[in-house]
Point group: C2
Chain length 361, copies 2
């Protein structure tokens, strides 16, 4: 096979990144193991327990339960599934801010629950009024986003917890991307800050583990029982995961990354990424673009469609928000030099774009 993966040196759109060297090494060592079959692969099953313990420490939970999932989508689907199983009424609904990831749409279609998508406020955070208005007796789950996909925003998780308790719903926090940077901010986002029941937090995003390494963390192991299916031919007796065979590489690399980087390594990465985001936001603002302030390391800016296309044609891997803004995620592989090169290309495009305008003067 002669084909090569493209380098990361122009990837500005991904929420994944190059795994940390220790994470890569662990992934390669455990490539041929399957935590979905713990009777056959006991070592990786032990590692998975360790992964959950370490995730618990990050998310403020003393006695965490959960598993290493394929990613945030699986964790979000499973959270909706747990809530559906616990719902008492016949038509459970899930209240999710419009900033919620599209995996909630996937979960709703899959699980046949009603999705009540409510607006965000001017700061791209869940509107508490809208959540309160949408929630009712049939609400099984309220979702808060801690680091949204499009703008990196954190919903008011404790306040969402209050509403959830009022209507006797569960509270899920989607920290798939944000979970490994939020510990170094002042946000209140985790199990220690609010009555959170379930959380998505992905080591393979800001946690610098190898794909596939997502995390579903739940307040108590009883919640996982809602997901359990009997496994007749395995030596383990039941399975709570959405998939069957799973990647031992993901599990091992999550443990290796957290062992290496929590907390100091993640803290310095957060500082570096956040500084990069602020530098880029500043550079874009100086050039007259409207920029959404990066409260986490993610920059959105109102760049014309033609400019966006021209940048993509130059090989930059960039993407857009639903509203059409350029969206750049300052992942660990994104360096200041990359961003400077990107802004340089933007400047050159603008010079060319401005030529006909100048000749009209």
């Amino acid at each position: 096979m002669q084909i090569e993966p493209q380098a990361f040196d122009r990837v500005l759109s991904s929420m994944c990144t190059e795994p940390h060297p220790v994470a890569r090494e662990a992934a390669e060592r455990f490539l041929a193991t399957n935590p979905g079959d713990p009777g056959t692969y006991p070592t990786v099953a032990t590692l998975e327990d360790e992964a959950i313990e370490r995730l618990g420490e990050i998310v403020g939970l003393d006695d965490p339960a959960g598993y290493v999932a394929s990613g945030g989508t699986e964790a979000n689907v499973q959270a909706v599934r747990i809530a559906r199983e616990r719902a008492t009424g016949p038509d459970p609904n899930v209240v999710v801010p419009e900033s919620g990831h599209f995996s909630f749409q996937k979960a709703a279609e899959l699980l046949d629950v009603e999705l009540r998508i409510v607006p965000t406020n001017d700061h791209h955070r869940a509107s508490l009024e809208a959540v309160r208005a949408a929630a009712d007796d049939e609400t099984a789950l309220i979702v808060g986003v801690a680091g949204s996909t499009e703008y990196g925003r954190v919903d008011p998780i404790p306040e969402l917890g209050v509403i959830a308790r009022e209507v006797d719903a569960m509270l899920h926090v989607d920290a798939a991307w944000g979970g490994f940077v939020l510990p170094f901010t002042d946000y209140e986002w985790h199990f220690g800050h609010a009555p959170v029941d379930t959380m998505a937090i992905d080591p393979h995003k800001m946690g610098q583990a190898a794909i596939p390494s997502g995390g579903l963390v739940v307040r108590s192991s009883e919640l996982l029982d809602e997901l359990a299916v009997d496994t007749p031919y395995l030596e383990s007796t039941s399975q709570a995961t959405l998939t069957g065979t799973r990647s031992g590489a993901g599990v091992a690399s999550a443990v290796a990354a957290m062992e290496e980087l929590w907390p100091a390594g993640y803290r310095s990465q957060y500082v570096r990424s956040q500084n990069n985001a602020e530098w880029l936001a500043d550079a874009l603002e100086k050039r007259g673009y409207e920029v959404v302030e990066p409260t986490l390391p993610l920059v959105a800016a109102d760049v014309p469609q033609s400019t966006f296309e021209a940048l993509r044609a130059k090989g930059w891997r960039i993407s857009r928000t639903a509203a059409g803004e350029l969206r750049i995620v300052c992942m660990p592989h994104v360096t200041r030099a990359m961003l400077a090169s990107f802004v340089g290309d933007l400047d050159r495009l603008e010079v060319r774009a401005s030529v006909p305008v100048a000749s009209d003067d």
Copy 2:
């Protein structure tokens, strides 16, 4: 991280195996790519198209559609989901032989469809009478297993296709494990043999790719539309997979393995595995155990519980069927020497077990 994955030299229970060296190399190269985001990672998206083309060749489908899934569970869940979406009545049901994998149970719970589990016959294959009796106007899907998890049996797929057409149901074939050995047998199991709509076939099982590399292959791309969810912030516009972020390692290693091994390498592996299974079956029969004839490279034998436990205590990774039989899967990493060593341990256990009996004489 000091912990090491155990070696494969005592693993007799897994349906996964050591990836082929070319598959491992490709997995390591593509470890940091995400086919779930084809706009950002176009190279691996191209590779995924190639994987599906190659799978199509193996399963007798000229213009295949599908994707590289996390494994057989996801492919089975998605097949049930497609059928549910296509069903016209309010209470769709799925007819599956009792030899079907537990992922159909998972799918039914997840998707809230009725599962009609029907008995197998004396040869551990789906009873056509039972399937016909269970199928009705509300049947959305009939499942046939091509290489069952417990006994390696192949259901009569063409005949199941006739029943499916009679009740206007779809036909899914679970060849997750069997798909890479069946091409070298006389079985009729694939799209070219019967009106199959969807199939699970996993490169990471007998295909010798790295985990996670499952396959969902469908007769036409319209079937995938039933699964599509909009993806607002990705440059691609929709996503048909169950998970979101996916493993580029799995995709690349599937292509590398199939490029290297199809068909000659897989053929010789099948011959080696089948010969091993027959050798083991023979050895167990000679020792007086009742053995289920291995029509594919999987041996089940009626070994006492205490013997089973003693063998596990010696480090053998073995598992049991639901009926309690010892179950050994002759995967590529399982050599004749391993099986001889296993039988040697069995003999030593029996000598010891027979001592007290002898002393009673």
